[in-house]
Structure formats: structure tokens, C-alpha cells
Amino acid sequence: MKKQLVIIGGGPAGLAAAVAAYDAGVRDMVVIEREEKAGGILKQCIHNGFGLTRFKESMTGPEYAQRFLDEVNARGIEIMTNTFVTGLGTDKKVTCMNESGVFTLEAGAVILAMGCRERSKGALNIAGTRPAGLFSAGTAQKYVNIYGYLPGKRVVILGSGDIGLIMARRMTLEGAKVECVCEIMEHSSGLRRNIAQCLDDFCIPLYLEHTIVEIKGKERVESVVIAQVDKEKQPIPGTEREIPCDTVLFSVGLIPENELTKETGLALDPHTKGCFVDENRETDVSGIFACGNVLHVHDLVDFVSEEAEVAGRAAAEYLINGDSEHVYIPTVAGENVGYVLPQRAGKGKDIKLYFRVRSAFRNAVIRVEAGEMVKTYKRIAVAPGEMENITIKAADFADAQSIRVSVTREA
């Protein structure tokens, strides 16, 4: 079967990309979704705070997802649910599987929008048995919000990512006692507002530079031993403390879900763990685009939607007008910058650069260098958990060989 555009993933990225592609003229398209319903992870993010940037109102995850679903449905865009993509070739043949069997879609263009998954690493390096009661924060969130089960009554959370913080509050509201959140770093990777409204509001302690060194219990978790860590992240002997609990949640980061992409043979950026893309979110293979958390993990869904629209419009442009010639220059992560996205910038168009700093500090100066052009931007505070963006005018890097972004402390 032929399809002009195949979008893999019906979460916020896939839905926004579909709407943008439709509005740019594409009609023959399908969104492939492995779950029963589209909406992605937003379905279980029942808390509010979504959409402030985009819609200037505070929405819950399901409400935000529904806005886009309504747009998709209003355009009559097909969503194929309960369907799993098992293969993608550089020839843009998409192999799918569902109840009716295995079939191949020959696509003119493909948008990767598979989102991300939770890192499980936190659980692997801890000594002890493997009793029941160990969950990733997102799994616990699904149990509580989608299935209506409380996974435990006395909880310790390892890692202070946003999902962990949100779950600390959620389980507290549902009657569980959250003993503490342990964060191995000297700062939380979650948003400051989530520490305030999810931990401080309920007097849940956040132990920075702490980790779990042992999990006790045979059938079910009975307690954990936590300890302070030194600068090398090694537990400091003598600081161990045992905390009785029946549940441990891990919120130790997210990684783009690129198993499919790897099979396709697309190169992945070791920093973002996603594809290398240009300003159109087009990957190394022309006609294959990527957007949302599969490309790099975002902290705000508003930016996922924005990025997906870029990819959706670009895919439409590719399908309608064919591949255009580009002159690219690389973007470079300089001092204190973890990564810059997109990794290459096409000349002749303004470019919005997204980047993350490596460590948190106040009174920061962002410095963008492109050939002769040097621009600086001040920020009151920057943190690795909060993605920054800067737009550079096409004229400002017309003669440059690269665009370098660095962040320093104000002198």
C-alpha cells in the first residue's frame, strides 16, 4: 500500500506534525499508534501546567492531547491504532503489524515521532534482591492514573526528574506516604516549580547528593538504605541510613525511543540520543524527518508541538516540491553546553537553536558566535533541566562556517 506521508507515533509530536502537514497540503497520510488510543504519554499526565507557552492557559495532559486530537479528527486524518511499526527502510518502506497481520506501507515521506522511554539504569546498579515494589515513575503513573491502582503505601523515590516529583505528589494525594526523594546530583533535574508544588507543599524531603545503596526485602520491598555521595558520586561510608518502605520509584531520566531508527541505520547523536537533523528536522536520509522526544527529550510539550509542526510543514514541502538544495553549516556546543539542536543549519533562513546547559548557575551569559557575528544574551538562571532557545537571523550567519553556542557566568 502506498501512502504519501507516514507518521510513526500518535503522541503530541505525531498529532501536531499530522495537522501541520495537512494544513500545508498533504492529504494522503496515516498516523501509526501502537496503543489503543492516540495522545501518547499525555494521557497519563493528568496534572496541570501544560500549554502555558502555546495556549496561554494551564491545561492538564489529557486536555492538551484532546486539543490536537480534535484538530486531527476535524481534518479526517487517519490514525491507525493498536498498530506497531516493526521496520523502516531508508527507502521509506514502513513495515507494520496489527491484528490483521503484517503489512508494508510505501511512504513518500516519514516522520519519526516515537517519543522517549524511561531510563532503567537506576535500578541496575543497586545491591540487594529484586522484590516486588520497584517501578519506574512513569509505570507507577500509569498504574495510578490509567488503571486506578495504588502501587504502594510507603514510597522512596530515586531521582528527581519531573515525573518522579509529579508522582511524589500524586501518590501523597492518593494516601501513600512518600518518605523522601534522593538525587545523586547536587541539583535536581526537575523544574523548580515542581519541587515547590510537589515536594515542598507536602513536606517531602529532597536529599541532594544522595543515592540508594541497597534494597532490602525478599517478596516485597521492606526498606532501602540511602547514603550521601562524594564528588565522584561514590557513597560515603558512615552516612548510610535505612528507610522502611514498600515501594521504590525510579525517575532517572528519559531516552529517545530509537530502536527502530537504529535498525534503519540512521546515525544517532551521542549527546541527544536522537537523529542528526537540519532546521527542517530532516534526518540524514532525505524524506525522513524526526520530531519531539524521539529527537531530543523536551521538558515542555509546548516545544514538542512547535518542533513537530516544523517537521510536518517540511515533510509537506518535500512531498509537494521535492528535495531542495541546501548549504549546511554545523552548530557546535561550546563551553557549558551539552548539545545544540538542530545539529546543522541550512543557510538562507533564520534558525531557532535549542540547547541545554551542562550545569546550573545564576547570572548566565549565552554567547552565539557565527563567523564575524557574536551575540550575547543574559539569563537570570540556567539549568540542565530547562531547555533554552535563541533565534539567529539568516543574515547573521550567511558567511559563517559554523554556529557556536556557549554559556558562561557573567563577569
Binding site: Q66, R192, R193, Q197
Partner: protein, 113 residues
């Protein structure tokens, strides 16, 4: 007297300082006027939107929220009321599931079922 707050109004998370002077409360560190309002509320009567889920009569879960900010001290009272609710589908986003769940604030559906 100085008090510090982290504004929860948006993802920016401004770090606010509120200083009580003879002329009232002086707020610094806020990027926008919402920070001032937030600080004022935090110092007098802190309030929060409550989000949760209810079990429908068909067994599925439905996400819900209060359509206004509930007094912080009333959050658990609201939660107790939410747990007793079992609406019958169909339910649409925005439908009121319980009027005046706290003061004049209603509980509304945030999903379709």
C-alpha cells in the same frame, strides 16, 4: 521579614523574595505580574488546582480537575470527595462532575469517556 518562594505559575519558576515593609509587601525576582499575585496569595491564603482521577461506573478511570484553586488546607478534603465519585459515561471534557466541591469551585472532567 524576608520570605523566599518559587513561583509555580509557569515553567520558568522564578525565585521570588517577599519583604514585608511598613508600606506592605515588596516582591522581587518575578519576571511577570503573576509572580506578585502568587506571592501575595502564598503569604495570606495559598491555593492550588487539584487534579486527580475518578473511577467511572464502567470501571475505567477518568481524569478530573478543580475548575479553580482550592485552599491548600482543603486539598485532602477535596481528595476524599473525589474518591467517592463514580460518574456514568458518557462524559465530556469540561462536564461538571461535582458542584461546589470546595467553596464555589467545581470538579470537572479533563477527558472524554
Amino acid at each position: 521579614m524576608k520570605r523566599n518562594f518559587v513561583c509555580i505559575e509557569c515553567p520558568r519558576g522564578c525565585e521570588l523574595t517577599a519583604e514585608t515593609t511598613q508600606n506592605g509587601v515588596n516582591v522581587t525576582g518575578n519576571f511577570c505580574p503573576r509572580g506578585e499575585r502568587y506571592t501575595e496569595a502564598e503569604m495570606t491564603c495559598p491555593r492550588r488546582i487539584v487534579t486527580s482521577t475518578v473511577r467511572l461506573t464502567d470501571g475505567r478511570m477518568l481524569s478530573v480537575k478543580t475548575d479553580g484553586e482550592v485552599k491548600k488546607e482543603d486539598i485532602f478534603v477535596v481528595m476524599q470527595k473525589i474518591k467517592k465519585l463514580h460518574p456514568t459515561p458518557p462524559v465530556c471534557i469540561g462536564n461538571i462532575l461535582e458542584e461546589h466541591i470546595s467553596e464555589n469551585i467545581n470538579l470537572i472532567a479533563t477527558g472524554n469517556a
